[in-house]
Amino acid sequence: MAQFSDNIDNLEHWQTNRRQVIKAAILTGTLSQLSFLQACTANQLTEEGNDLLDANQVGILKSVMEILFPNDGNGPGIDDLHAFEYIMWVLHDTGSYEKYRNLAIEGITWADEQTQKNQQKNYLELSQAEREQAVAHFNETDYGTEWLSIILTYILEALLLDPIYGGNPDGIGWKWLNHTPGYPQATEELRYENILKTVRAAYPKTES
């Protein structure tokens, strides 16, 4: 028991430090996909929560994503696309539209409240069939549709943006849709967070 408690304490301490690192990176604008993924292992993201979402919220988000874009044998599912990791990066990315980022997170809590109100159960206590019914119900409200639409757009980004952003590994989304990407493709130096820094570093020296 004591050993377990120690582990929990250590884990919490480790997570606290990790959250501080991530938050500092966000504040300084240095959190690229690479450093984000280095800072957060997939296990931490999916099971234990992170600095933005607790474990319950992570579970709800993953479940809703799987309903929006199921692994149904027709092309890749969200795990194939690394879509959850991609969305967690977007939610940390201050360059993405803040209103949508906030709505994406707030909608998770709203979804849990909806099932508590309508089914008297937390979302994660619902069976798979009940979860699918709940999502269909969410989509009958303006707020729910907007929330689901934002999550689905993030999934599409994980499906179709350059793999350098963390989704679409090995172009799996492009291959599924018979899409030929343009050339040259994105590079680490020219990915969106870095491109202006790279461009300005190349300016000729001029007298002013």
Binding site: L161, D162, A186, L190, L196
Partner: protein, 560 residues
Amino acid sequence: MKYDVCIIGSGAGAGPVIYELAQAGFNVLVLEKGPWFKTEHFTKDDMVATRRAIYTPAFKDEFHVLETKDADGNWKAVPTHESRTDFWNGSAVGGSSNFMSAYFHRLKPNDFRLLSEYGNIQDGNMVDWPITYNDLEPYYTKVEHVVGVSGAVVPHKHLEPRSTPDYPFPPLVTNRISDWFTAAGAKKGYNVIPAARGIISLPKGDRNACYLSNYCGSFGCSSDGKSSSRAALINDALKTGNVEIRPDSKVFHLETNEKNEIIKAWYYDLAGLKNSVEATLFVVAAQAVETSRLLLMSKNPSSPNGLANNAGNVGKNLIFSAVATGSGFIHFDDFPAEKIAEINNPMTFVNRTLVDFYEIDDSQSGKKIKGGIIDFLIEHSNPMPKAVKNKKDGDRLVYGSEFKTKLHTYFTTRKKVRFEAFTDWIPNDNCYVTLDPEQKDKWGDPVARIRLGYHESNKIPGEFLAGISKEILTEMGARDVSGAVSTGPTVNLQAGGCRFGNDPKTTVLTKDCRAHEVPNLYVTDGSFMPTGGSVPYTFTIYANAFRVAEKIIDQLKSKL
């Protein structure tokens, strides 16, 4: 240091002036608000180009206030950071020409005398230009050769007079669906012909030919095949040693002396610090909206209402292109496999146009009225916009296996064929730029407030051309053919606000695009255009800037 010329902006309206003045030996300073992307910085990254829109300012930093009519007919003003309606086109050295699709049509002779040819329209401000097509023709030719235009001249009833028989660059390779458009047009009795592009099909100097990346509009070009101001003109101008480019330099004030001559341009640098430069002549080419905004912001003792605005004309008669757009789908299972094999490939260039109806007989009025052109194309390659459109079925969000099937079907079993018809945007008293009294940009300066008055008569030729276009798409065998007039502005095709003309009471600029009121100020972007013609503007902006560059050189030489 005092420069011969300070040029504000570096897009299609500035490039020819930079190029010509540098070649003539004058020292030129370019103040460009945006960063300086080089060719090697452009990739086909949808995140950079469209999702995060790195080539345009962030809404929180710079935005506009747009006035549109609500359902009750009242004008309602909404900042673009609220509506998320981006009114920028490309903030970079070379301006939005870096990201253009580059459909290059010349104006026709009648475009220079719309009032004389077709009469005024009630509540419209139609006028004739102070120059003729013949005055501009040599400069269209110059653009074709110096900037680079590819295509093939074919005879048709509205072919404008040309001093050269053909374009200097042969047509670009196209998707074979081009032939389908031509054949369908012929069956309906319409003459669908090749469309010229501001994209070179052969190498030119340091520029490589178009490499058919299929990611063209909205993306920078990695071969310099696209004839942007940066690739086609500025890079060569820099080789003279007479040009200095200062990127990230946002001009906010033009200071004048007691003679109403500009003596300094004031700008913010990247750090937000205020700087000033001196020059003999100043050229503003910041794209129509921002050019009017800068002049209106430049209040001086001799111009209390803004520079060149003592007669109150700056910002008035802003114009866009009036457009009708539509589409249909070629379903692969409607055609033999060998036919589909011709078109089911990544090639996105179509380069076909219909000019038969540049002038049309209006059945309602019984008169000839101005028509326009139709460009035919297929959907852009970048996949995100296509995928996002598939999320909705009407107002319903589609998701789950239904959505995946819809998405896969859309991408793999059909090709979207499209048309864009361009007609004149009738200038009117409800389309103009002012300074917003409350909203400020990141530097604390008033943003442009744009009233977007649309003249209902724009719809007449638009609906006619949409009907022709739908006939052709249907004849091709497309399904779900639809199309309609759009009453919104074409953000990427903007002009007017500083009309040129002979009367200083009603125009801002002389016919040489020098300000009537300010002897050392020229405006060389699309602001000068009193009417726009029924074609995209970029080719004409380039040509006019070459024309005006000669006038600027003459004025500079007279001062030496």
